[in-house]
């Protein structure tokens, strides 16, 4: 049982774009923070601590927690940096949750950001892998994803057309999201005709590079409902950063999602995730993940993912909409991405989704992905958890 139950009481995002030359990193952060504070109707003086993160080598700034204080509001406040690669944003959400749940801080500001336009994203990602064993043979994130997609295709006989259906869905959803970077519908044919990046992944199957920041404010049960009439309660968090080496991966069956999701469902009393959960914001950097990872999450049995996607169940209006925001394929400021999933899932619970709102959301899930096929996952509810 949590010492203090925790709710998200405000969120803020920048208008995500491929390049933001008009602001530096601190200024970009500030935009998201200002928006989140306004959303929660709080001022920076109300904030007790700040949790911030990004990936160092995307901007080349050491000690970002220290450097960012002009923009984050961390001046003479506790500020701490968490970084776990692609999972950084979700790691931050989990971090903010624990800081508030501990009772040490009542209101915590959580900030994820990235200016991916400032560096060579692939060059920086490649340095994530072991310098002796993996780095020289591994070209950024896409090679690993392609290997996963291929392994799954081989096992279950799906095709790149099945994956393209996921991309079509997310790119359509993104048109409803004013914050998304790419807001353009595409057809199956266009996805399949887009250049092959790394077989079986086409250009339109993957996420773009983005400049953006996201801020989320979490508050303890003592004040949450005073700040926000319908806060999004955090029901639970779980994660697995299972592997260190690429060669250890169980490709085509993402172990980290399987174990993290199973733990989360158990902790929060979810017995039938497909029926009980109303919406998912999935950190899905490429389309195949939209099939493979929802199986690992326990939404549908293994091998049935493509069929489920084609049924329309995960589209807006379906039984379990996935990525009403357009997801990562529409927008990927890496250090912010997992936190944007959190903000979007909570926006759904708060009923503030506008054109992308799913009706009657009681339970929402957000995930993070990164590192060596790692997963973070959070569950949020409209009701305060009774555990």
């Amino acid at each position: 049982m949590a010492k203090k139950r925790v709710a998200v009481v405000g969120t803020g995002q920048t208008m995500h774009k491929s390049h933001r030359p008009d602001v530096n990193g601190q200024e970009l952060i500030h935009e998201a923070v200002k928006t989140a504070l306004a959303d929660a109707e709080l001022t920076i003086n109300d904030i007790d601590a700040i949790v911030i993160g990004n990936m160092d080598h995307f901007e080349g700034i050491n000690y970002v927690d220290c450097w960012s204080v002009d923009g984050s509001g961390g001046w003479m406040k506790p500020i701490i940096k968490l970084t776990t690669g692609g999972t950084t944003g979700s790691t931050l959400a989990i971090g903010g949750y624990h800081m508030v749940a501990s009772g040490l801080f009542e209101k915590v500001l959580i900030i994820g950001w990235e200016k991916n336009s400032e560096s060579d994203t692939t060059g920086a990602i490649t340095t994530a892998f072991d310098p002796i064993w993996d780095r020289l043979v591994f070209a950024g994130a896409i090679a690993g994803l392609a290997a996963e997609g291929m392994a799954y295709m081989t096992e279950f006989g799906i095709t790149d057309k099945d994956a393209a259906r996921v991309s079509v869905r997310d790119r359509k959803h993104a048109c409803n999201n004013p914050y998304a970077q790419l807001r353009q519908e595409v057809t199956l044919e266009e996805v399949l005709a887009s250049p092959m990046l790394s077989d079986p992944i086409h250009l339109l199957d993957v996420c773009p590079r983005t400049d953006g920041a996201c801020a989320v404010i979490m508050a303890s049960e003592d004040v949450a409902q005073k700040i926000c009439p319908t806060p999004a309660w955090v029901w639970g968090t779980a994660n697995r950063h299972t592997y260190t080496y690429v060669g250890d991966l169980n490709l085509g069956e993402i172990d980290s999602m399987k174990y993290a999701a199973a733990e989360l469902w158990k902790k929060t009393g979810i017995t039938e995730p497909r029926k009980q959960i109303d919406v998912i914001e999935l950190y899905q950097p490429y389309s195949f993940a939209g099939i493979i990872w929802i199986e690992a999450m326990g939404i549908i049995p293994r091998g049935k993912g493509a069929e489920y996607i084609w049924s329309g169940a995960t589209d807006m209006g379906g039984e379990l909409p996935i990525n009403p925001s357009g997801g990562v394929i529409a927008c990927n400021p890496i250090g912010a991405t997992g936190l944007i999933r959190c903000a979007e899932a909570c926006t759904q619970i708060m009923g503030k989704g506008g054109a992308r709102q799913v009706p009657d959301v009681n339970l929402a899930v957000s995930t993070g992905f990164g590192g060596c096929f790692w997963t973070d996952i959070l569950l949020y509810g409209k009701q305060k958890p009774d555990f």
Partner: protein, 153 residues
């Protein structure tokens, strides 16, 4: 196969990570560099709430956490708040050769100090409180070295 590692010589794998960066200065810093290029002045921002004047210019006041909407133009003449004379060839110095004098300089009219380099003065003559002025580069490039250095007034 031999099970004991005691006779193995550990190898050192020499490498470097090289990631190119394009740092977007943003409009606030761009104004600072434009003002150096056009007017040979230091552009500072002023917080309308607490009245503090910031150099380097800040888009937001870190203390009041509001946008700084006013600009002030400063000559750059100011005083040395603290300094150090670097006498070892530290790697960060790059092409500069020691002795290099780093100083925090508070321009007249500003409430903060900025980091820069002092030159045209013997290291042993430098002291806190020294009055200095900026010397601007002949060919401004939109870079902090558009102020070539500071020197005694």
């Amino acid at each position: 196969m031999e099970q004991d590692l005691s006779k193995v010589t550990p190898l050192v794998y020499e490498s470097r990570i090289g990631v190119p960066y394009n740092w977007w200065a943003g409009k606030t810093a761009s104004r600072f560099f434009e003002t150096i290029a056009h007017d040979k002045k230091l552009a500072a921002t002023k917080c309308d709430k607490c009245g503090k004047v910031f150099v380097p210019p800040r888009k937001t006041c870190p203390e009041c956490f509001v946008d700084t909407n006013s600009w002030v133009s400063l000559s750059g003449e100011g005083t040395v708040v603290t300094f150090t004379v670097v006498t070892r060839k530290l790697a960060a110095l790059g092409k500069r050769n020691p002795p290099v004098i780093f100083a925090l300089i508070r321009p007249d009219g500003a409430d903060t100090a900025m980091l820069h380099i002092l030159d045209n003065i013997a290291p042993e003559k430098v002291h806190t409180g020294l009055a200095v002025k900026p010397v601007f580069s002949e060919n401004p490039k939109g870079h902090i070295t558009d102020i070539s250095h500071f020197e005694p007034v």
